[in-house]
């Protein structure tokens, strides 16, 4: 009877040997392809052939957020608040585009969040300002060209962080009209979140969940050889535990806090429109966008975005941007509540849900290198009139094949 560990070792050596052989065959095949490349072939003249899956896009982005402010939901301060909202977030992201065939393409995005200092995203970093929390996810979007005018899209996403997990699925359909002068799109998405039911004092009461379903309609239209217009409408319905369970509200008549409570469901709608105008004479592009939002929490918001893209050199583009945002706040926002408030009565002190105005200025430089690669660096300054501000730095690199 053979010794089982010896059998396992022999099998492993055999597998390694087969793998080496396969690698050698693959390498030989690749070298042969290179060695026998015909400069007059279709593939050489028209570009790569579409015989099988290949990577056609690769992008990396590193974004850093430095945020500070004071909000009554935060415990990083006096009991009656407001507490610190200071946070530092580093977010590396990777995107890989895979062309499976002339009519099928996949895009894989891997975002990672590293959160340090006081954060609204995790309890431990609220109570311990130097703690760190990490989050990671993966999203796969596939596009299938059903015909020259019809395209189907599927999207699958997964996200995981310390007290929280999330999965999503989306389906979309796009139709091109009038010789690609207009595009009409419809899409739907469902998201399921599951997370620890953390209390402001750190206690955990099992797990809770929330679901969101979302529908979108969009269309775009070429208005002239230099003008594009697009618009969309989105409707989202959420149900479940919608509050951030470890957020708290100061009591007005006691040196204590009570957990934040939201209604069980929320319906959100938004209309948006944008226009892009290229000016060939000055090598510039102007873009403007407007968005109106309203929901069942009585929150409404207006967003206005303006961008100017300017060629400084044939391969160097500068972008200046301005964004104005204003919201009314939810109808159950307050900086404190009486201790006699009902257990399930909605209340929040979250500064993100208060009425405020916000201004954002951005600058970006993009260099389009030879060989379909691009580098960009950008900076944004965001400031709200209720005390929160953020500085955002982003660096991107992309390569198309």
């Amino acid at each position: 009877m053979a010794n089982p560990p010896a059998e396992a070792v022999a099998a492993a050596i055999s597998a390694l040997s087969r793998a080496r052989g396969a690698a050698a065959v693959a390498a030989f095949g690749l070298l042969s392809t290179v060695a026998h490349a015909d400069p007059t072939s279709d593939a050489s003249i028209l570009g790569r052939s579409n015989d099988g899956p290949r990577i056609d896009d690769f992008r990396l982005r590193l974004t850093s957020y430095y945020q500070d402010g004071r909000g009554y939901q935060s415990q990083a301060g006096p009991v009656a608040g407001p507490g610190s909202e200071r946070a530092i977030i580093v977010q590396p992201m990777l995107l890989v585009g895979i062309r499976q065939s002339p009519r099928i393409r996949h895009e894989v995005v891997v975002p990672v969040d590293i959160v340090s200092a006081a954060s609204a995203n995790a309890l431990d970093v609220i109570s311990h300002a130097s703690a760190v929390n990490e989050a990671v996810g993966i999203e796969v979007t596939s596009r299938f060209e059903l015909s020259d005018d019809d395209q189907l899209m599927t999207h699958v996403g997964w996200h995981e962080e310390e007290p929280f997990g999330s999965g999503s699925f989306a389906l979309g359909y796009t139709r091109s009209l009038a010789d690609d002068n207009a595009t009409l799109g419809i899409s739907g998405q469902a998201t399921y979140d599951r997370f620890d039911f953390l209390q402001p004092n750190g206690d955990r009461y099992g797990r809770r969940n929330r679901t969101a379903v979302n529908g979108n309609l969009s269309f775009s239209q070429l208005l002239s050889p230099t003008t594009v217009f697009d618009a969309s409408y989105g409707l989202t319905y959420q149900e479940g535990l919608l509050q951030t369970s470890y957020n708290s509200v100061p009591l007005s008549d006691a040196a204590a806090r009570t957990p934040e409570v939201f209604p069980h469901s929320r319906t959100r709608s938004a209309l948006s429109a944008r226009v892009a105008q290229h000016v060939p004479e000055t090598h510039s592009t102007l873009r403007a966008a407007y968005r109106y939002y309203w929901d069942s929490f009585s929150l409404s918001a207006h967003t206005l975005e303006l961008e100017l893209h300017q060629y400084l050199a044939p391969r160097l583009i500068a972008r200046g941007s301005y964004r104005y945002y204003t919201q009314t706040g939810v109808d159950f926002f307050g900086t404190s509540v009486p201790s006699g408030i009902g257990t399930f009565s909605p209340r929040t002190s979250d500064s993100d849900l208060a009425a405020f105005h916000a201004n954002e200025l951005g600058l970006r430089l993009q260099w389009l290198a030879r060989g379909h690669s691009a580098l960009d660096v950008s900076y944004f300054h965001y400031e709200r009139d209720n005390g929160l501000y953020a500085n955002i730095f982003s660096f991107g690199y992309g390569e198309s094949f």
Binding site: P111, A122, A178, N181, L223, L235, F262, L271
Partner: protein, 77 residues
């Protein structure tokens, strides 16, 4: 709310009319400026994603951009 829904319905109807009556305003051979890197309505997908994450986390309004609100982050927004 009903006024807003009516507003949304009218905007949607207008959009559908525009799209279904779409005419070939710009022929294929006059689209060189539309193909300029500065013209796509949205910039780099990762940059857009990064800024969207920030706005969704720090503001009460989200949605209408193909993504549902409240999914994928640990915040109550």
């Amino acid at each position: 709310m009903s006024e807003r829904l009516w507003l949304a319905a009218r905007a949607l109807l207008l959009a559908l009319l525009c799209a279904t009556s779409a005419c070939a305003i710009v022929p294929q051979n006059r689209r060189q400026y539309l193909a300029d890197p500065t013209m796509p309505a949205q910039d780099d997908a990762l940059e857009r994603r990064a800024m969207r994450k920030f706005h969704v986390t720090r503001e009460g309004a989200a949605g209408a951009d193909g993504k549902p609100a409240g999914g994928g982050c640990g915040c109550g927004n």
